[in-house]
Amino acid sequence: MISLSDFLIVSAGLFCIGLFVTLTKRNAIQILIGIELMLNAAILNLIAFGKYDRFTNSGQTFALFAIVLAAATTAVALAIILNVYKKYKTIDPDKTDQLKD
């Protein structure tokens, strides 16, 4: 069978890729994708550990909660991005630097 640390290595790599995407991209949608990658790495960890909890299923249940939370986050974030685009005509986070118009 696959050992636990194999899952953890894949998850660590995915988290670092998500971190890199979040830091370098200059487009709000791609930054959102980076955050989703990091969330998915965390969910993979939850599931890999959840294999050792058969009776209460805590790992898998909280992985479900995390997926639902990610969906809610994305809905709100995309609404904000669309509003920012309506106001500034760009979604580059470096250029949207004014609170007043």
Binding site: M1, S3, L4, S5, D6, F7, L8, V10, A12, G13, L14, F15, C16, I17, G18, L19, F20, V21, L23, T24, R26, N27, I29, Q30, L32, I33, E36, L37, N40, I43, L44, I47, G50, K51, Y52, D53, R54, F55, N57, Q60, T61, F62, A63, I67, V68, L69, A71, A72, T74, A75, V76, L78, A79, I80, I81, L82, Y85, K89, T90, I91
Partner: protein
């Protein structure tokens, strides 16, 4: 090498490679579709970790919901995004990216170091779970167990998350509505 291990290495490789493609690619459309591939490969990894219900939920919620939302937002935010992306191919960008590369690689090294020093397979609670036959086997169907758990043991977090989801959706609808006269 067994079949399961081969599948695991294939899925892990696809996940990391498509993730790297998202990080490197300059084309927004390609990176969105590569994100789709990453999510599918992750669902495969969840199946290999014996969490089939989570894998299906991942496909339904992420691929069916979040990815469609992202594609919508990308299309609604127009041509300027694409025009910006075409201009990014100067040399300065790479120098600007250096701190981010450094941060990500160092963080990865720290995490791998911790991982190899801890020896997760020998943790006391995992050894105890193996001794008590508390691990999920390949023939177990966990969906019924998860459903009963959601209605009994995890009822409070379930209700809390349902209220939060409703608040988030109402808030998103409120933010994105058309404002009049303000």
């Amino acid at each position: 090498m067994t079949m399961v291990q081969a599948m695991f290495y294939l899925m892990g490789f696809i996940t990391l490679a498509s993730g790297l493609f998202i990080a490197i690619s300059k084309n927004l459309v390609r990176s969105v579709f590569m994100f789709f591939v990453t999510l599918m490969a992750l669902a495969g990894l969840y199946v290999l970790a014996l969490a089939d219900f989570i894998a299906i939920t991942q496909i339904v919620v992420y691929v069916g919901g979040i990815l469609v939302l992202i594609v919508f937002a990308f299309m609604l935010s127009g041509r300027e995004t694409l025009a910006n992306l075409q201009q990014q191919q100067s040399k300065f960008i790479r120098i600007k990216k250096l701190p981010a590369i450094l941060l990500a690689v160092l963080f990865f090294i720290v995490m791998i170091n911790v991982l190899f020093k801890t020896n997760f397979d020998g943790l006391p609670w995992i050894q105890q779970a193996i001794a008590q036959k508390n691990t999920i086997g390949t023939n177990d169907a966990m969906i019924g167990n998860i459903g009963v758990g959601l209605m009994t043991h995890y009822l409070l977090p379930f209700e809390a998350i349902s209220i939060l989801l409703m608040m988030a959706l109402v808030g998103a609808a409120h933010i994105s509505r058309k404002e009049k006269g303000i």
